[in-house]
């Protein structure tokens, strides 16, 4: 009913290979893009800066991690450290006077260089060993960031981000900050949508399914594992600089600890591994569910005179992250994207279910 799949039959391969083969999907995407562009004029400042901005930034980061975990099938528990390296690299460059565009790219390259080191572990080990290697590396990078004064500026220091210009536009005010984050988000999203249609994406999928088998059919596993880490870490570094410039405004080592990595892993799993749309869903759920639940608990405490300790409210996010990861892995391993897809497939031909392929 909503999608009108009935009557749409493709006659050329090119038509079916489009990113959004159905005309309605294209219209919806256009509408969402227009809404996203108009958001600074439609939304209250609180919602724009407090909700929409972190959502698109974290969704971009989740997309980068999803390339590694979903598309290439490599566990990465240290993505927060990668983002941190990118953020510190680009902020230091900006402070030294480099233009933001260059700083962003160099930040990405620094992250990619660190990411290659993570990836080197992936060449030796995989599966659970890789999970532990990346976990260990997260702690090591944390230690390096906070203990090298050249990077962090001292153990307890925070580094403020100076005023910058992006593509000639000064990044001041909420709208400019939002548009910059949105631009990066759109670029990364388009990249991720296209990756699976390229030979690169297909090679990653082969590596994900079984790396030995991929090697047998002629995929250079060594190269593509490293490339997956490289590309994903590059995205992480760029997101790190966007995070620093647009959202955090001043960075300190504790913002890139293991908690950030866990948050991102939770986003990828809850949203759906390997799904672009899922990264957005997952980021929204992981970012906003603790806020909503906290408000709900606060509301209950006020209205029903219940005694709820601050300890409980402080630990709501952790409970939710863990609970959501466990719940989704047990009941819907493919995440929110799969739930959305099931509904979409149902309504695609509703009420003529027999017309489904």
């Amino acid at each position: 009913m909503f999608y009108r799949r009935a009557g749409i039959r493709f006659t050329r391969y090119g038509q079916e290979r489009q990113i959004w083969p159905l005309p309605l999907d294209r219209r919806i995407m256009l509408l969402i893009l227009l809404l996203a562009l108009a958001a600074p004029y439609l939304l209250d400042r609180l919602y724009l800066v407090g909700y929409l901005l972190p959502w698109i930034i974290w969704a971009t980061a989740a997309l980068g991690l999803n390339l590694l975990m979903g598309t290439a099938g490599q566990i990465h528990l240290g993505y927060g450290a990668v983002i941190g390296m990118g953020a510190y690299g680009s902020v230091h460059l900006v402070r030294a006077g480099a233009p933001l565009e260059l700083a962003m790219l160099v930040g990405g390259l620094i992250s990619a260089a660190v990411g290659i080191v993570f990836g080197a572990a992936a060449l030796r080990v995989k599966g659970l060993y890789l999970a532990m290697a990346t976990l260990a590396m997260q702690y090591i990078v944390d230690f390096v960031i906070s203990h090298v004064p050249f990077i962090s500026g001292g153990s307890q220091a925070t580094i403020t981000v100076p005023q910058v210009r992006f593509l000639g536009i000064p990044i001041v005010g909420d709208a400019a900050v939002y548009y910059m984050a949105l631009a990066i988000c759109v670029i990364v999203t388009l990249f991720m949508l296209n990756v699976r249609r390229t030979s690169f994406g297909r090679a990653l999928a082969a590596v994900r399914e079984k790396d030995y088998a991929a090697e047998v059919i002629g995929v250079d596993t060594f190269r593509f594992k490293l490339l997956a880490f490289w590309v994903s870490s590059f995205i992480g570094g760029v997101v790190g600089s966007v995070l620093a410039v647009c959202y955090l405004r001043s960075i300190s080592p504790d913002q890139f600890h293991i908690e950030l990595s866990i948050q991102l892993v939770a986003m990828v799993i809850v949203g759906g591994m390997g799904s672009v749309l899922g990264s957005f869903f997952g980021a929204a759920l992981i970012l906003f569910a603790p806020i909503v639940l906290n408000n709900l608990i606060g509301f209950m405490a006020d209205s029903m005179e219940m005694q709820i300790s601050t300890d409980l409210r402080a630990h709501v996010p952790l409970m939710l992250y863990g609970g959501l990861i466990v719940g989704f892995l047990l009941w819907e391993p493919l995440g929110l994207a799969k739930i959305y897809n099931n509904m979409r497939n149902y309504f695609l031909v509703w009420p003529f279910r027999h017309a489904q392929r």
């Binding site: 659970l128 532990m132 290697a133 300890d311 992250y321 863990g322």
Partner: protein, 295 residues
């Protein structure tokens, strides 16, 4: 070079390492039977400590009774975790099961401090706080007793593998399908190994809770336990003993010698460095069995 200081650091490191090893024992037990690393082991230790505290302090049960009670409760908790969560992961990619244990770890880390209060709780198991002097060496009495208990527990688990149950678990670790074919209840063996892992984590949690207080930071034992389990080889219990001593001594000596140079914090990084070096140089650890993969 102050040899007395190094000797002191080394001896205390051995005991601390054995205490870490008790947490690692659970990881090895679970890996031996089900072939997946339990990233919730730190949180299990924390849960055990909280359970003992909850039985001993708010309920007023004497500590000698509270510890066995919480051991039984945690055995049930571990087995229930396997039954309700991990068993549904059979046949799924191993990444899923690992992420599941990580999710359990995060959830427990939020649930327990959230409901029991985040302030550090004192757990008194009757070890006097005064240090012990051995000649000129100063030895922490709590870590010494803890290390001795851990050593005993790890030896006990070695003996366990000679019992009937242990033979079953060895068979399951060798080949799950083959054990199934000869009538061994594979699921039950795995559930028992989870229960034993939770129980040994509880002992570790109680010992650590007695030395540093019970709070969420007990779950940080995970990374040290992982370092020991990986260095020793994930499926080797003698490896736990030896790697535990190595990790404990390395950490203690690094803390004593390097901290003044780099300004603190080396204690948390030694375990990570050991994990990384082991995985890069000898992924299967010192005593681990080489894993042969079939397509």
């Amino acid at each position: 070079m102050d040899w007395l200081l190094i000797a002191e650091l080394g001896i205390n490191g051995i005991f601390v390492g054995l205490m870490y090893g008790l947490v690692a024992l659970g990881i090895v037990l679970i890996y031996k039977t089900s072939g997946l690393a339990n990233l919730a082991q730190g949180a299990l230790a924390m849960t055990g400590a909280y359970a003992t505290w909850a039985i001993a302090v708010p309920l007023g049960v004497p500590i000698w009774l509270a510890i066995p009670l919480s051991l039984v409760a945690m055995f049930g908790f571990g087995a229930a975790t396997e039954r309700l969560a991990l068993r549904r992961m059979i046949g799924q990619p191993v990444i899923m099961a690992i992420m599941l244990t990580l999710g359990i770890e995060i959830m427990l880390r939020g649930l327990l401090p959230g409901f029991a209060g985040a302030a550090v709780k004192r757990l008194d198991i009757g070890i006097p706080g005064t240090p012990l002097f051995l000649g000129d060496l100063l030895i922490n009495r709590a870590t010494m007793i803890g290390g001795a208990v851990s050593f005993g527990m790890i030896l006990l688990s070695l003996l366990l593998f000679n019992s009937r149950l242990g033979v079953v678990m060895r068979a399951v670790s060798d080949d799950q399908t083959a054990s199934w074919a000869v009538g061994i209840r594979v699921e039950r063996a795995i559930a028992i190994s989870w229960g034993l892992a939770a129980a040994s984590a509880t002992v570790a949690g109680v010992i650590w809770g007695a030395t540093q207080g019970v709070d969420w930071s007990l779950s940080l034992l995970l990374i040290k336990a992982l370092a020991i389990a990986i260095l020793g080889g994930l499926d080797s219990i003698p490896g736990v003993l030896i790697a535990g001593v190595i990790v404990g001594v390395a950490e203690s000596v690094a803390t004593g010698l390097l901290d003044p140079l780099v300004g603190g914090g080396t204690r948390d990084i030694v375990a990570s460095v050991i994990i990384l070096l082991t995985l890069l140089l000898k992924p299967h650890g010192l005593f681990g069995r080489e894993h042969i993969e079939r397509i």
